[in-house]
Symmetry: C2
Amino acid sequence: MRKDIIKFKNPPSIISRASVVGNKEHQGPFGGKYDMYDETDRFGMPTWEQSEGEMQRQALNLAMKKAQLKAEDIDAIFAGDLINQCTSSSYGLLDFDIPYFGLYGACSTCAQALLLSSMTVSSGSFENCAAVTSSHNCSAERQFRFPLEYGSQRPPTAQWTATASGAFIVSSKGKGPYIVEAMGGISTDMGINDANNMGAAMAPAAISTLSRYFTVTGTKPADFDKIITGDLGFEGYSIVIDIMEKQGYDMRPVYTDCGLVIYDREAQDMHAGGSGCGCSAALMAANFLEEIERGILNDVLFIGTGALLSQMSVQQGLSIPGIAHLVRIRREI
Amino acid sequence: MRKDIIKFKNPPSIISRASVVGNKEHQGPFGGKYDMYDETDRFGMPTWEQSEGEMQRQALNLAMKKAQLKAEDIDAIFAGDLINQCTSSSYGLLDFDIPYFGLYGACSTCAQALLLSSMTVSSGSFENCAAVTSSHNCSAERQFRFPLEYGSQRPPTAQWTATASGAFIVSSKGKGPYIVEAMGGISTDMGINDANNMGAAMAPAAISTLSRYFTVTGTKPADFDKIITGDLGFEGYSIVIDIMEKQGYDMRPVYTDCGLVIYDREAQDMHAGGSGCGCSAALMAANFLEEIERGILNDVLFIGTGALLSQMSVQQGLSIPGIAHLVRIRREI
């Protein structure tokens, strides 16, 4: 029978973290906490895909600098993004000369990268791993919906792909925050086929992972200081609260979602909120892990949620599968 | 300092393997060895992307059946393909209800999936993992080059994306073939920007990984029964032999490449040979692992090679980075 939960005997630490964001994210509620931003969103590059790659490069550079590690100290990079063939990761991280494992988990990629980094570090195969993800509004809109110049209207359920990147160093030598448990997501498809309502497509996956986790561990939401999904936005957040309540779990007191809070939805006119591989990565790096380090939070579930669609699958009329990977992060062990 | 080689204390076994191919592959030199083929290449599906997904589904189903394992016995799937957002893997494997980790390593994905399966199984986190990859000529040509209907001419350096899928079950309980060592690839970009000469783009990555491996382990090509790259085709194969010779390594007596041998290049008019995530996967599953099980081969290096380009990166004039992941497979330990 499957081992649903991976409990780490030697929990690895997230010894360093860095975030790089665009202008809209800088103007949002967490604007002061990101390590770096560019008000043009271009990061000095000629194309949006290269801008996104440059954000990953800068984020990893910063995370390595903070940990006082050089490229030869990093055993492997786990990285991914939303762009076809993970172009931004492949090109952005090319110069580091570090073994590279490309991932594709859509907006769940940050959690997937942290999970795989933890598994490989905890087992002693690696000593230091980097988990790096990004998204860029301009590259994502062009690819998944319409080029920006077209000026397409966004429905109220639409999320705004964040221009953001987060990088983390996961190490066997550290004093926390510790990744103590992990659980891989099972793809879930409830028949949603509206590419402008990703929250509804991803919420069932988040619910599936949360229910499985609570059932297997015998825990409940109130056992945690915070449960963070990323990125369901307002639509998906509301669905998770409603359905989990029907299953007997009261999520409200501890539940937040990176897409819900990354922008001031009213003042910034962000409809259902933010999304993208960089959204939860930047918020975890800039805010939630800092709150864990400062002792404001001690025991946190982070559930990265992804919508596994492509432009082609939408055009071919297929519904959108979701996936949600979980890591449990504690200040102390 | 980085640990270049991952040596498994508890080497996992590849306890089961299955291959599913299209018509051209069935007509090739290994035609009789694949588990299944469809002479229409459609596998009963209405679109090529879904045909490719169906090949993955059938390959994993067969591999599980051979190992007498059910879905609930598999801890995780590591899977990927060439299609945007790994659509074929996401949709093809949706029905299994097994935790799913999407990968993107282009044609190196089979080796990457075997490597990550081995790491997570060897450490005891998982007991059984599935590694599944695929490619389909019709979905890949439409995406990376031209739709088939356009009838574009192929230059002599072009490789033919194989219509093929391979699935492997990597288990902590087994009697081999054993994955005893692994080495993650470092992306390498030597400035090749011709999307019709992937062999030249990927060869430097294969050379980088092979040189690193021989240097760190103090081994040489003749220490192995076979060194298999996948998939460099005739162009990349020749480059590897030449450059490795200049570095003092004689590859010729033991070296082969999945893209070079999957088709009868002359009779089938396949130019530089085959490629695609499914090429090396199907050949490893159908032929090389069988040769290891039968004792024809005892100690093998399998180096999966990938070209990390996208249609967009080519259009934007960027050169093509390559990557090469290595696993060492032994009949006995």
